[in-house]
Amino acid sequence: MTTVISAAGLQKRFGRTVALDGLDLDVQSGEVHGFLGPNGAGKSTTIRILLGLARTSGGTAALFGENPWKHAAELHRRVAYVPGDVSLWPNLTGGEAIDLLARLRGGTGDRAGYAARKQRLLEVFDFDPRKKGRAYSKGNRQKVALIAAFATPAELYILDEPTSGLDPLMEQVFNREIARVAGEGATVLLSSHILSEVEELCDRVSIIRAGKTVESGTLAELRHLTRTEIAFAADGLDPAALAAEIDRIPDAHDLVIDHGRASFTVDSDRVASVLPELTRLEVRALTVSPPSLEELFLRHYGDELTERVAEPVEGARA
């Protein structure tokens, strides 16, 4: 495995705003890497630096081992990029924009192959290429960039919040395309603030906040950081006795008995040690839920979230 993206101690200031404050990011070849962080965390800024569109104020960034600022154009031959907020040329049709971007990327040498790939993508994304740029909705503008990216072979796909504006059906199509290019051996950097999307697609994730990397690893590695929830039917059990039993399990916390169900949490890497106790209690309707990335997020941005309780995490997609 070779390193495709490596950034160390990345800094970026815009006047007095500190956008990146010592960010680290490593992506190995063949990996689908989730790049997670709330709005304003610095995801797009990092991506612009990786593409050589912006310069670092400090730290180092390398793409395929080369300095992206100095070798931007050569590196871009190997990269397909989908920006976070796709703008189109008002007087070009969607189809013209797709062809133009694919040609500029140099991915249309094999004409028949390109035409076939494009045709297939136009169909699966259900996209009408004949409208003028300004007539497309946000989701449809996103599709232009996605089709142009997936229609040209690339070693690295950099996708900045690519599914914002896509409906759930199209998200599924998108997921299949990611799986396809990953299956063909490409590397993918997928930025997002939507956790379920990353959870489904990514091998590894880096979580950033306020321009710093706060966590990085495989999903399994990160899961040990949170608690698994264990729940079972509580009817027929004496609450007081049950509480005493659970208390004796060393790693169990937060017991709640409510609506006929008992639940408690346990550190994810200690689940196995809890099971014999549960067997002894002969519990029924047992459920064991691994933590979702929502919980990871709540942990890392918890203090921020409690300040803004009115905003639901899941719904905050824009």
Binding site: R48, L51, L53, A54, R55, A72, A73, E74, H76, R77, V79, Y81, P83, D85, V86, S87, L88, W89, P90, N91, L92, T93, G95, E96, A97, I98, D99, L100, L101, R103, L104, R105, G106, P129, R130, K131, K132, R134, A135, A145
Partner: protein, 540 residues
């Protein structure tokens, strides 16, 4: 009512600088034209002769107005009213589109429409802002005339005429915003209406019935179809008849009724003229970034080239007339010749001056190419191009190249149209080399402005648009009006336009041209080289 008040205040706030510039600029033009007319055509006999010549020639009337006697106020109204009304019309068009269709296209109007303000209040607020802006314009112009020494009653009628025609263009702009899907389409239609109104009035004046002393003209019917024609029909300073302005206000009332009706039957964001579908795949022209730069600039290129052709044709067809003037009215010819630059024949001086204006056109077209580069960057589309295998230096170099093509095409259009106009004249043999040299002489100054706008783009990206227009506009005013208004040499010399070679006679001094050629190329090279170190600068 509170929503309306909020929306009106928001519009005033957003426009304060832009409107102030339009208002003060137009008032200054009005004021300086009083001064210039009083200076150049001081006596009534001079004014009578000019009027008679203009009436006899007819074509001059297209660019002036309805002759209405040699009295100073009436003469000034004849000279400048249509231009001021044109400015007011453009101000109104841009103002209306900015607050209606552009907002809708950007999706911001939807945010407002979803509040209790609803869909109608923004249109009402825009209408009121437009009316207020035109009332202010009329008042300022009237005051400028009065301060310049003209009689008050006539000045107020002239001001009212400008306000009324401007208000009619506010209504036309509002209608265009209902009809077109994009702000570009709405602005295009609005500007076409203003220019069309100007030309209708011009045709009406040129084909009108002159009085026997050639000092008065009764315009033909096309003038009566034009808001600018209605303003002119007041006969300010002579008849002072405001009745024709009622026509403008009635027209406005009817259009505004139509606009509100259309607004009530269409969806938010929709238009009455649907957008058309285009091709599903890109043609071979769009296969590289140069093809894209070309495609993005070609429609403005055509517009500027048409302007260049019209100016070139006017230059050569009017020059013959000006030559006649030399025979018929020697003292005016002398004045003109002095103003245009001594030494040469009147005809040569006239062609040189007119091609100087064509040079300003070509420089503006070059500036617009640089501005397009900035718009691509601010809009976010340049980011996608630069994230492909296109190096940023090459990207900018291609814009420079497109700029050079645009300049050459605009000048060539003026040159060819000038030759076509000269072909019918007696002295065609002399005119052909003169026109060719005059066209070529505009190339260096245009390249200077192309280089400057690209430097602004690289060094001060967020100021590209403002700097581009301010530089070219300031230099054009300094270069063309500076000498007339008696500005000192060191000041007018700051304008690159004053250094364009002036091909009058046999020994033409091309040195200024070579210097500017060098400066233009160096500026462009510096811009492209600096692009190496320039990062993407998004809007905001």
């Amino acid at each position: 009512m509170t929503a309306f008040g909020t929306l009106l205040r928001q519009r005033l706030r957003r426009d304060r600088l832009q409107l102030a510039l339009w208002l003060v600029g137009t008032a200054l033009l009005a004021y300086s034209s009083v001064a210039a007319v009083a200076d150049t055509y001081g006596s009534e006999s001079e004014r009578s002769e000019i009027l008679q010549l203009a009436t006899a020639s007819r074509t001059i009337l297209v660019f002036r107005g309805t002759p209405n006697g040699p009295e100073l106020g009436a003469f000034l109204f004849f000279q400048i009213f249509a231009w001021l009304a044109l400015m007011g019309g453009l101000m109104s068009t841009f103002l209306v589109t900015r607050h209606t269709r552009a907002e809708e296209e950007q999706g911001r109007a939807e945010l407002i429409a979803a509040t209790p303000a609803g869909r109608v209040a923004p249109t009402v607020a825009t209408l009121v802002l437009g009316v207020l802006a035109n009332l202010a314009l009329g008042a300022l112009v009237a005051l400028a005339f009065i301060v310049g020494g003209l009689e008050a009653a006539g000045s107020w009628v002239a001001g009212a005429a400008i306000a009324a025609s401007g208000i009619a263009f506010v209504a036309i702009g509002l209608l265009a915003a209902q009809l077109f899907r994009t702000s570009r389409g709405a602005n295009g239609a609005g500007v076409a209406a203003v220019v069309g109104a100007y030309l209708l009035r011009g045709i009406g004046d040129a084909s009108g019935t002159p009085s026997s002393d050639l000092l008065h003209v009764t315009p033909a019917w096309p003038s009566l179809l034009s808001p600018i024609g209605w303003g002119q029909a007041t006969g300010a300073y002579v008849e002072n008849d405001v009745a024709p302005l009622m026509l403008a206000l009635g027209f406005t009332a009817v259009l505004v009724g139509v606009v509100f009706w259309l607004q009530s039957v269409r969806d938010q964001g929709a238009s009455l003229l649907p957008g058309r579908n285009g091709r599903a795949a890109a043609g071979p022209a769009l296969s590289n970034s140069f093809g894209l730069a070309w495609r993005l600039n070609v429609s403005t290129l055509i517009a500027w080239a048409v302007g260049g052709a019209v100016a070139g044709l006017t230059a050569s067809s009017l020059s013959e007339l000006v030559a006649q003037l030399g025979g018929e009215a020697p003292e005016i010819a002398d004045t003109l010749q002095a103003a245009l630059g001594g030494g040469a024949t009147l005809e040569q001086a006239f062609i040189a001056t007119f091609f100087g204006i064509i040079g300003v056109l070509a420089a503006c077209s070059a500036v617009q190419v640089g501005i397009r580069a900035r718009q691509e960057e601010a809009h976010g589309t340049a980011e996608q191009v630069l994230a492909t295998a296109v190096p940023r230096t090459r990207w900018l170099l291609e814009y420079w190249f497109v700029g050079v093509i645009v300049i050459v095409v605009v000048l060539a259009a003026a040159w060819l149209a000038g030759l076509a106009g000269a072909a019918t004249s007696d002295g065609a043999d002399e005119l052909v080399p003169l026109i060719s040299q005059a066209a070529l002489a505009q190339l260096p100054v245009s390249l200077v402005f192309l280089g400057l706008v690209l430097l602004a783009f690289v060094w001060m990206p967020r100021l590209t648009i403002v700097l581009g227009w301010v530089l070219v506009g300031g230099a054009a005013i300094l270069g063309t009006f500076g000498p007339l208004l008696g500005a000192p040499d060191w000041l007018t010399d700051l304008s690159p336009f004053t250094h364009s070679p002036v091909p009058t006679g046999d020994d033409v001094d091309w040195a200024g041209g070579f210097w500017m050629l060098a400066i233009g190329l160096v500026a462009a090279a510096l811009a492209v080289a600096s692009m190496r170190r320039r990062e993407l600068t998004t809007a905001g």
